[in-house]
Symmetry: C2
DNA sequence: GGGCAGTTAGTAAGAGAGTAACAACAGAAT
DNA sequence: ATTCTGTTGTTACTCTCTTACTAACTGCCC
């Protein structure tokens, strides 16, 4: 995560909704402080003839100001001002988009009696799904993982809350760091899985919530994580029973 | 500002970086809860054959999950999750873009001895510029306006701060509401301009900061506002002197 | 005249919207 | 079994619009 280059910055501005020319002109003006179309064109490496229209568009977006003179001079708004302008634009769009979605959405199909197994790719998204599934638990949660980064702060807090609410929380890990970290929480029981279970050789995580919700993930060689999960399905129940049969039988307290 | 329609929502999602198809598929899935490509295609009004690739792209963005089965089923992430995903994406881009700009920018050309007059269009941007110019004032601020909406809360707070710092603050308005509102602030003196000055017939605002910074705006018939401003220029000084000659001579305390 | 300012037209390349066709497969009818 | 039918998932292709980029033209001031 090194410091961004100019082209990184241009790309980012493009993803924020500017065109490549707009991004380059804006950056050039921030470098120059202020300048004419010619100045901007040479620094931004944008055809001079295009600077006029691009600047006009940037003026519309509130990112620069125009001096009515000959030659026309341009001046960027302050960095803070530009940032807050873009941000409020984003928030307005976000609001409009999600306001509509909130109106028309229907509950994600009651988690019952559908034999659905879903796939989630990417650590951050799996983090989210883990939190989501644990939040819905009403009786107990079993959490297992080998890699410490898979235990997020948010999960830790949630387990604490859930434990305080009276849920039974069990943590299974071969990693002492994880056992210690989560074991500190009042009411959480930690287990060490037996060494000879090879399905635990692969790193990843397992979450069981109540007796009908399960999530299993694996971490690939390249570090990317993929998870499957299911809630309220027969499939989930069966899988959970299988795991419990193996797990509880061999699990070692502590 | 009525409630958004579907096409408004699609437009907004597009401005947030999705394609039209992506927006429609996402919205359709929020409506459906979950469904197959066929379901989605009919609700989203997107060619079925396109749903697969579009959904894949949405999965990459973390906006939906895929059920590996036949037929493939799709399921959106929760609205909150989608929103925070998009927001953190935005913030990452924003950070990268502005981090670079912060590095390379130069101070906006010391506000001295340049005969520059800048143009700003749009009420919100003029609000910003007003705040900016007042912030830089070191001795005194004169503010004038007829329309109450042109006095923002932020300005009111800033004037209070500046007044507390010992700056001389004068408010000129023909509107009682404005005189009362800003007159409350400790240390602020309010004036009523004489009726016979026709250049005050047009609504708009005037800001004078110290003796070298000035902003003048006019409000068009259609309500749009345009301002010119100048800081540290001879032009500004002269203009200020002109206004003061007229203003202080005829201004009525109160 | 010559260089610079600002404007305009026009081309080229790419992304996205929309259409059409195809192989693989499942179930139903024969 | 076998043919028929409809569906799934994939691919190729067209059309259009935006944007990057080029080139020219007009007017102006020295």
């Amino acid at each position: 995560m090194s410091t961004p280059t100019e082209s990184d910055a241009v790309d980012s501005f493009e993803r924020l909704g500017l065109t490549s020319y707009e991004a380059r002109v804006f950056i050039a003006l921030q470098q120059l402080g202020s300048g004419t179309a010619r100045d901007v064109a040479s620094v931004a490496d944008v055809p001079r003839s295009q600077v006029y229209s691009v600047a006009e568009s940037l003026e519309d977006r509130g990112l620069l100001e125009v001096q009515q003179s000959s030659p026309i001079r341009y001046r960027p708004v302050s960095v803070d001002e530009a940032q807050s302008t873009l941000r409020s634009r984003f928030e307005a769009q976000e609001k409009q988009a999600f306001e509509y979605v909130e109106q028309v959405r229907t509950e994600p199909a009651g988690e019952e009696e559908q034999e659905d197994i879903w796939t989630v790719r990417g650590r951050a998204r799996i983090d989210d799904r883990v939190i989501d599934l644990c939040s819905e638990a009403e009786e107990r949660i079993i959490f297992g993982a080998r890699l410490p980064p898979l235990v997020t702060d948010e999960l830790e807090r949630l387990l604490e809350t859930k434990s305080a609410e009276g849920l039974e929380i069990a943590v299974v890990s071969r990693t002492a760091e994880i056992r210690q970290r989560l074991g500190r929480i009042q009411g959480v029981t930690v287990f060490t899985p037996p060494d000879h279970r090879q399905d635990d050789e692969r790193s990843g995580r397992i979450v069981v919530a109540d007796d009908d919700t399960i999530l299993l993930s694996v971490v690939d060689d390249d570090g990317s994580e993929t998870a499957i999960w299911s809630a309220g399905s027969l499939f989930a129940s069966v899988l959970i029973e299988l795991i419990e049969a193996g797990g509880e039988a061999h699990g070692t307290r502590g």
